[in-house]
Amino acid sequence: MDRTRDLTMPGLIVGLGFCAIAGITFLPDWLVNILTISFARALAVVGLMVLWRTGLVSFGHALYYGLGAYTVAILAKEFGITEFFISVPIAILVSATLGFLLGFIIRRYREIFFAMLSLAFSMVLYGVLVKTEVLGSTDGFNVPSPSFLGMRSEDEVVNDKILYVVLCFVGMGVALAVHRYLKSTLGSLTTAIRDNEIRVEYLGFSVAWAIHVKYVMSAALAGLGGAMLSLTLGQVDPDSMVNWPVSGELVFVTILSGPGSVAAPFIGSVIFELIRTYAFEWLPHAWQLIVGGTLLLIIFFLPDGVWSLVRKLAPRKEA
């Protein structure tokens, strides 16, 4: 049993709080932009991490990611709703609802079949969006920057900063909530289910229900992440939000981060974003090579992700 004082909570609060303050004060705009995108993605990855701990990998979470993104976008475009605290919760609700419905089906699958079915579901949405003229098909459309409790600045840079700070706090809240969840009975049933489903059933718990709950959670988180991303980028389109390489990217960051802690996805996501941005800038025809190579290196040499390095730097003492 882990007898050390659990530093995750204070660590997250301090870490993300620092990021928020630094973003407003001294960080350059380009870095704030990178952090915003990274943290948005990290929200989705937290959900995938919970599934991964349960032994399940989804190759189709771009479904909820994109759904969250498009929900916010459509609310703005068709209904004129740009208030953050209305459109984002709706996006979460929509994603969670779809996750709830699909969850009944997908919770019976494991391993490669879980992955393939989730891929199929996401590609259905992709196909629908590409064919929908009203939503701009492959070009997508723009998303106006949001207002926060009715307030919006004239200066786009200020709006970006506000979004960033809000995202930091949302991230903090999500991470703390998931961290607490992992300490509950249901939360412990991640590793337990992965290790021995039959045993869990024979101890008296419904594995299908446990997986269903986790799936809905991950759908909601992906929806939240996607919503944040669309607001950050200011636009949505199927290829950057729903197509299968997006799901692949989310899985990649999950593996890169490692399953060790809710803080891991934030770190892993930033690293990925930095790699991707700079690889693309310096070697525009080889950035995929670098990303792919990094994934292979992680799989072979750091199977527990970047977080396992962090763990090594700060060794925990057993009581």
Binding site: A115, M123, V124, V251, G292
Partner: protein, 319 residues
């Protein structure tokens, strides 16, 4: 570049009358057969590799793309050297074998060999990483400009069937697919080597204890699978412009074919290819809005009712 476009699946035909209806029916059937044949050729290698080695190889898309680029390039060079259009056909097997052997051997010996003991899903991730790497190497090798290598298609004339002018070249693909199916069936059921392969598919451990050199079987299977994937790309190359992004859509379509038919089953690949091909052809003509995602709906439906696919090899019970 979506090869379905390259296949010029004819758009909806206007007009009424039984003559027209018959024409429409014939058109859909032939479109479907053309598309199914193409899918079968591309996917049978994927399912063969999965059946024997239990690896779902995302990099299969690379064999396809490299096959297409190599064929297009070689045809261009050959044609410019003054040879006749019909003789450019010879470049297709050259590209197929070259790509299949070189890429197949490299991938199997350097990467896959070290991964056989690992989780199926992790292997998929590794092949996804490989896909990214090989995509970029492809770009670096062949550049970003599209290749047009229409000579083989021009060499064979066109005929009118069902009121539509069709390229004979594309019709030959149906013959090619049937030929490959027959050869595979023959080799797998009637030859010693084929039965060895079937033994490994059903029980790797047992085959090893009976003295089968599983390592060699894996290598040969992988190369054959790679060649089949390359052939799919090489053969379709003359009908489209081969440009960056060539393999991306095909990968998920192959997954759909393989999953629907049952992973590891070659008769399954036939059925899966027919299912996907016919569904797509019908959609293109009758319900264009669903054209892109109808395939994945079929995939999802099959997975829900027959999680192992339609023809999966039987598996032993767990407890």
């Amino acid at each position: 570049m979506n090869p379905a476009v390259g296949l010029n699946l004819q758009g909806p035909i206007a007009g009424g009358g039984t003559g027209r209806a018959m024409d429409l029916f014939i058109t859909i059937v032939i479109d479907g057969l053309e598309f199914s044949s193409y899918l079968f050729i591309v996917s049978v290698g994927l399912t063969l590799i999965f059946g024997v080695m239990k690896i779902l190889n995302v990099a299969h898309g690379n064999f396809y793309a490299w096959g297409a680029y190599s064929a297009a390039y070689l045809i261009g060079v050959w044609s410019e050297s003054g040879f006749s259009d019909i003789s450019t056909f010879a470049m297709i097997p050259v590209a197929t074998i070259g790509v299949g052997v070189v890429l197949g051997v490299i991938l199997e010996r350097t990467l896959l060999r070290h991964m056989y003991h690992r989780d199926e899903v992790v292997i998929v991730l590794a092949t996804f990483a490989t896909f990214l790497i090989l995509e970029d190497i492809l770009l670096l090798t062949f550049g970003v400009d599209p290749y047009f290598a229409y000579q083989p298609m021009v060499a064979l004339d066109a005929v009118e069937i069902g009121g539509i002018i069709r390229d004979v070249y594309k019709l030959t693909m149906i013959g090619l697919a049937i030929g490959i199916g027959v050869v595979l069936w023959f080799v797998l059921t009637q030859t010693k080597w084929g039965r060895l392969l079937t033994a490994v598919i059903y029980d790797r451990e047992m085959a090893t204890t009976m003295g089968v050199d599983v390592s060699m079987v894996y290598l040969v299977t992988f190369v054959i699978g790679a060649m089949l994937g390359a052939l799919g790309g090489a053969y379709i190359a003359p009908t489209v412009s081969v440009a960056p992004g060539f393999g991306i859509d095909v990968i998920v379509l192959s997954f759909a074919v393989v999953v629907i038919g049952g992973m590891g089953s070659i008769p399954g690949a036939v059925i899966g290819a027919l299912a996907v091909g016919m569904a797509r052809a019908t959609a293109v003509h009758q319900f264009p809005e669903v054209e892109l995602f109808v395939v994945f709906v079929v995939m999802a439906v099959v997975l829900v009712f027959r999680p192992e696919g339609l023809f999966a090899p039987a598996k032993a019970r767990k407890i």
